[in-house]
């Protein structure tokens, strides 16, 4: 068997008085890497071991003050910068009303981080592979004995000297502790992992099934699901089983007055422009032209499409032919479509189409202005 590495030498004592004196003597002998293990804290042990007072309080102070700062900054930023709102006539930064939350955050940060930092950094826990674990020594100090351990890492460590020294303290027993070959409480032991996996599977399966069967039940849905018949639903009441009734023959939907010249090439001259070129109508026409017409016809009707050749460009609206169209003809083209241009009657309402007609007339006149128009334009104030 290979040479085992020594961790340290332990001595056990039976009563608190002897452990105090043992600790005092060990401390005086100049050992530095040693410890006392007792089942509960013993009064006066810190002095006997000659260890400095705990500095844990500073950790608490810093973490607690951070909690205070975080709370105040959070409330100041949310309540008076990001979304300021007047509540109960209080100022945006209302310190008295912020005190409770500030206090609670201070407490939680101070306590939680003190405990976490103490265990993780002061003690280096969790550490279940320490050589002292699962030894008779540990079992006894856990129960009703008091022990001293001098570690092999100590610069003054010498097995026989330490043993003699510990014997001089009159202990109950002395033991040499070796580094274990493997972890004493194997967390990766198959049996334990099996139990853990079984628990995990049962819990997750149970949760999954419960959630699937329970969570998708609609809670109090009586406002959403009522006994009345809603559109598109089935009904046993009518012979055709439709929940909705068909409209009376010849019903015209609002805004959908039938267009009588559909499919005709040249409409009758009866189609007259019903709208007047007021500023509001022209602005509506401009808006609709820019939305529906300009992608192909260009912003000013020059036939310079933005479609990059995906479709054939339409001809300009400033040609003599287009300028000589009657208002009704332009309206007819929009409503009926022409060549590859489809009908826009479903996207653009009647009033909007007439407004576009008026706007096209404005564009045409602007592109072909005569001297009178120029003179007139000079005299009016254009923003």
């Amino acid at each position: 068997m290979a040479e085992k590495k020594i961790f340290g030498i332990t001595a056990l004592f039976k009563d608190p008085d002897s452990i105090i004196s043992a600790a005092k003597k060990t401390s005086l002998s100049g050992y530095t890497k040693w410890d006392v293990n007792t089942p509960y804290p013993i009064h006066g042990m810190d002095n006997a071991m000659n260890i400095k007072p705990s500095k844990l309080g500073f950790v608490t102070l810093i973490c607690g003050l951070s909690g205070t700062t975080i709370a105040l900054l959070l409330m100041w930023w949310t309540m008076s910068v990001d979304y300021p709102m007047v509540i109960g006539g209080k100022p945006f930064f209302s310190l008295p009303a912020f005190i409770p939350v500030t206090f609670e955050l201070t407490v939680i940060l101070a306590t939680a981080s003190t405990v976490a930092i103490m265990f993780a950094f002061f003690f280096g826990l969790p550490e279940n592979s320490h050589p002292l674990h699962d030894t008779d020594y540990m079992k006894k100090v856990s129960r009703d004995h008091y022990g001293v351990v001098i570690e092999a890492d100590d610069p003054k460590f010498n097995e026989t000297v330490v043993k003699d020294f510990l014997k001089s303290l009159n202990p109950v027993s002395i033991d040499v502790i070796y580094y274990p070959e493997k972890e004493t409480y194997p967390i990766f032991e198959p049996k334990f992992l099996g139990v853990l996996a079984a628990t995990a599977i049962i819990v997750s399966l149970g949760t999954y099934l419960t959630l699937n069967s329970l969570m998708y039940i609609e809670p109090f849905n009586w406002m959403m699901n009522q006994d009345k018949i809603i559109p598109q639903s089935k009904s046993e009441y009518f012979a055709d089983e439709r929940g909705m009734r068909m409209p009376v023959e010849g019903t015209v939907a609002r805004g959908f007055i039938p267009y009588p010249y559909l499919g005709e090439l040249i409409p009758t001259e009866v189609l007259l422009n019903p709208s007047i070129s007021t500023k509001a109508i022209l602005e509506l026409g401009e808006r609709k032209f820019l939305t529906y017409c300009s992608p192909c016809h260009g912003d000013f009707g020059d036939g310079d499409s933005r479609l990059r050749g995906q479709f054939q460009n339409p001809p300009t609206l400033h040609s003599d032919r287009a300028r000589n169209f009657s208002d009704g003809m332009i309206y007819h083209i929009m409503t009926n479509g022409q060549n590859i241009m489809p009908s826009y009657s479903s996207q653009v309402s009647r009033e909007e189409r007439w407004a576009i007609v008026n706007y096209i007339r404005v564009l045409q006149r602007a592109k072909n202005a005569n001297e009178h128009d120029v003179e007139f334009a000079k005299n009016i104030n254009i923003e």
Partner: protein, 458 residues
């Protein structure tokens, strides 16, 4: 018993050795549960299931299933919440305030009452959430950046409540777990079962009883107690703000914070005594949880009961002295109105009956003590009922007056919360040491060095 109060009675009776203490406390964990255990757990889970059923119905059909109505918008939901938060105050009081006051008798009962605190706060936390009617939206109570661009209202008492109760639960859990770590190490070193050993090892974090650790550990315990003390006072203060910050007659009172805290300690101690009496009997812990402990708890109940009585009287005095007509009406209505029966249950259970504890024989008699503390629990529940319901059921306009009548679902959920509480308590007694082994060892006779004054110093 000796009547010489200048000598402190020993906290542990019968001169138990350290090993005997350990055996006694760890015994329930090493043995298989017996018949009594199964009967108890069946009863408590039965109550829990009734509550779960009523809650499911509430989720499916909404809080219209409860007795809440237009003037009385806060019915059982808030009554039960305040009741359970109050119960949850004894644990931290015992573990933190009595620790700072160096009351050594607390060690025998601290672990148990801390556990009761945690379970009671868990019961309490359920109620405001289900009371909202849409518990799945509870996440909106937390300040997190969201698509609405909105933040929670930090100036609202309801948000203070969210912070206070959740911080209280977290700190109580931390306190409890920190105290449990050395005990997990003790259990780890005494168990022979491999699985148990691994579980205890994980929870003990590899604690080695090292004195270099004990030093910081004790410091941390003082720090935790130092923070938990103002915390425990703040929690019920903030709960009372839910009422006191409003402008409703009967609620809008500056005496509410101290009055609520005293009431919380009162009801919490009563609940601890109720459960401890049973536990010490079942697990043979009479030597660790002694009659002296129970007597001291009963003295605290007597003192806080009188504080609560004083608060009741002050409320009446202020109502009269303020000259506010509405305030006076509310209090006269409490005593002689339709809910006078609830008021008189409250006064007799909270103020009159605890006066029996002036008699030493009654303080030390288990059956009488049991009856009194259960009545105190009843009385404290009715106190919250009186505050919530009688202040609401008479609105400012007589045309808006109404009555609150609880439905079977209200009662079922209240029963279910008791079921949850006792189920957790019963499971706790069988899975964790109900008394802190290492702390009790530290105060056993002969456990401290003699030159230091040993067991008998200050």
């Amino acid at each position: 018993m000796s009547t010489d109060y200048s000598i402190e009675a020993p906290s542990i009776h019968g001169r138990l050795s350290l090993a005997e203490i350990e055996e006694l406390v760890a015994q329930p964990l090493d043995t298989k549960p017996d018949k009594k255990f199964f009967i108890a757990i069946t009863l408590s889970t039965g109550a829990l299931l009734i509550g779960a059923f009523c809650l499911t119905i509430t989720f499916l059909y909404g809080i219209g299933m409860w007795g809440n109505n237009q003037p009385v918008g806060w019915g059982f939901g808030i009554t039960n919440f305040v009741f359970w938060v109050g119960i949850g105050h004894a644990g931290t009081l015992i573990s933190a305030i009595l620790f700072l006051l160096r009351q050594r008798w607390r060690t025998g009962i601290a672990r148990f009452s801390e556990a009761m605190t945690i379970f009671a706060v868990m019961c309490a936390g359920i109620f405001p959430v289900i009371h909202t009617g849409r518990p799945w939206l509870a996440g909106y109570l937390l300040p997190y950046p969201n698509q609405h661009g909105l933040w929670i209202n930090f100036t609202s008492p309801i948000i203070w409540d969210v912070f206070a109760v959740s911080v209280y639960l977290s700190v109580s859990l931390i306190f409890w777990y920190t105290g449990l770590i050395p005990d997990f190490a003790i259990l780890r070193d005494r168990t022979t079962s491999k699985i148990k050993k691994t579980i205890y090892s994980i929870f003990s974090l590899g604690w080695r009883h090292s004195n270099r650790h004990w030093q910081h550990y004790e410091k941390a315990y003082v720090i935790l107690a130092g923070f938990a003390t103002p915390l425990v006072l703040s929690v019920h203060t903030i709960v009372s703000f839910d009422f006191a910050v409003s402008i409703l007659p009967g609620w809008h009172t500056t005496i509410f914070p101290p009055y609520f805290v005293a009431g919380a300690i009162f009801s919490g101690f009563a609940m601890v005594v109720t459960v401890l009496v049973i536990v010490r009997k079942i697990f043979d812990l009479q030597n660790i949880i002694t009659m002296d402990h129970l007597e001291k708890m009963n003295k605290v109940i007597l003192a806080t009961g009188m504080m609560v009585g004083y608060a009741y009287a002050t409320e009446f005095f202020i109502a009269w002295y303020s000259g506010v007509q509405f305030e006076q009406f509310v209090f006269i209505n409490r005593v002689f109105g339709p809910y006078a029966w609830a008021y008189w249950i409250m006064v007799s259970c909270n103020v009159i009956i605890p006066q029996l504890f002036w008699v030493k024989k009654i303080r030390r008699s288990i059956p009488i003590m049991m009856v009194i503390v259960i009545l105190v629990n009843v009385g404290m529940w009715f106190e919250r009922f009186v505050i919530v319901v009688t202040s609401l059921h008479r609105d400012f306009l007589p045309s808006s007056w109404g009555m609150f009548i609880p439905t079977v679902y209200d009662l079922g959920i209240l029963l279910g919360s008791f079921g949850l509480f006792f189920t957790l308590v019963i499971l706790f007694t069988k899975t964790l040491p109900v008394v802190s082994i290492s702390e009790v060892k530290a105060i056993a006779e002969g456990s401290q060095p003699t030159h230091h004054g040993g067991n008998h110093h200050g």
